[in-house]
Symmetry: C2
Subunit: 176 residues, 2 copies
């Protein structure tokens, strides 16, 4: 159960609303943590009820109001305590790979189409990560230091997206 720690870590770097978090999860850590909006909103409520987060209502014009969450000192302690314990093993579920694994039973055309789509999605994501990476490179101190480790994680995202893209190309060639 480290969704809570992922949320605490992200809000510690920069506070924000549930909606912001959903986007940040999707746009910058999706290669190492997948979370739905329902999961995130639920966990935010729970974290606030445990006083690990506190929120402030922000009235907006032109948009619905929002709640900005911020990590409390207790939240920081909780995160630090978690950081001392060894990390649990990775868990992954990638249905596309099962399809390819069992591809002998599938229609080759459909397979090609799906791999192409995934390739496009990975290309988009790679570009997104690269843009984000450039933003981080161009930051000035002390922000640059603050984002050093998040940036380091992003570099893994880039490498993994590159691996996917290469592989998708080779696979499309191989099955055509």
């Amino acid at each position: 159960m480290s969704l809570r720690h992922a949320i605490l870590a992200m809000l510690d770097i920069e506070k924000g609303s549930g909606y912001d978090l959903v986007k940040r999860f999707d746009q910058s850590v999706s290669y190492f943590w997948a979370a739905s909006y329902q999961q995130i909103y639920r966990e935010l409520q729970k974290l606030e009820s445990e006083a690990l987060l506190e929120s402030e209502e922000v009235i907006q014009q032109g948009k619905p109001d929002k709640k900005i969450y911020e990590v409390t000192p207790d939240g920081i302690s909780e995160l630090q305590k978690w950081l001392e314990k060894p990390a649990k093993a990775m868990k992954i579920k990638e249905p596309l790979l099962i399809k390819i694994y069992a591809g002998e039973l599938a229609d080759t055309g459909l397979l090609i189409e799906e791999i192409s789509q995934h390739k496009a999605a990975h290309a988009t994501r790679l570009q997104q990560y690269q843009e984000m990476s450039e933003l981080l490179i161009n930051l000035e101190q002390p922000l640059r230091s603050k984002y050093f480790l998040p940036h380091q994680t992003l570099k893994l995202g880039i490498k993994i997206e590159e691996a996917w893209l290469e592989w998708a190309e080779e696979t499309l060639e191989a099955i055509t």
Copy 2:
């Protein structure tokens, strides 16, 4: 819920016991599907109760007896039906990356130690995958054809493990 389809796909390639499957998941598809032994055994029972699998008791000497599961024609149909539908999105949980993301709050020594351990684990896994890949390359027809697509998935595993290893080295250098 495609654990069932992962199991059907693997047993379609080669029948085996729950114990065999646990090892196969761990040794060859762990970079795209994580499953615990409890999950696998439970799902095998369910699949058999739905007549998508059938089992045969095998009495062994020197070892406990085992149940060998095999996919039924209904199981093949179910798998084919699933293959026609677009694959769901990948889900991933990698707690180590959260730790690195929040690493400013952590002890650098502990962080280095953990990254080193993960690096070693990825190196072992890479070697495992490479050995498996060589086995598959050296197969003779028709087995080679049969394993063409599983082999293709393995190649992604190799690329991803390589990306991890590279990244772990760079990260260790960067934070030391």
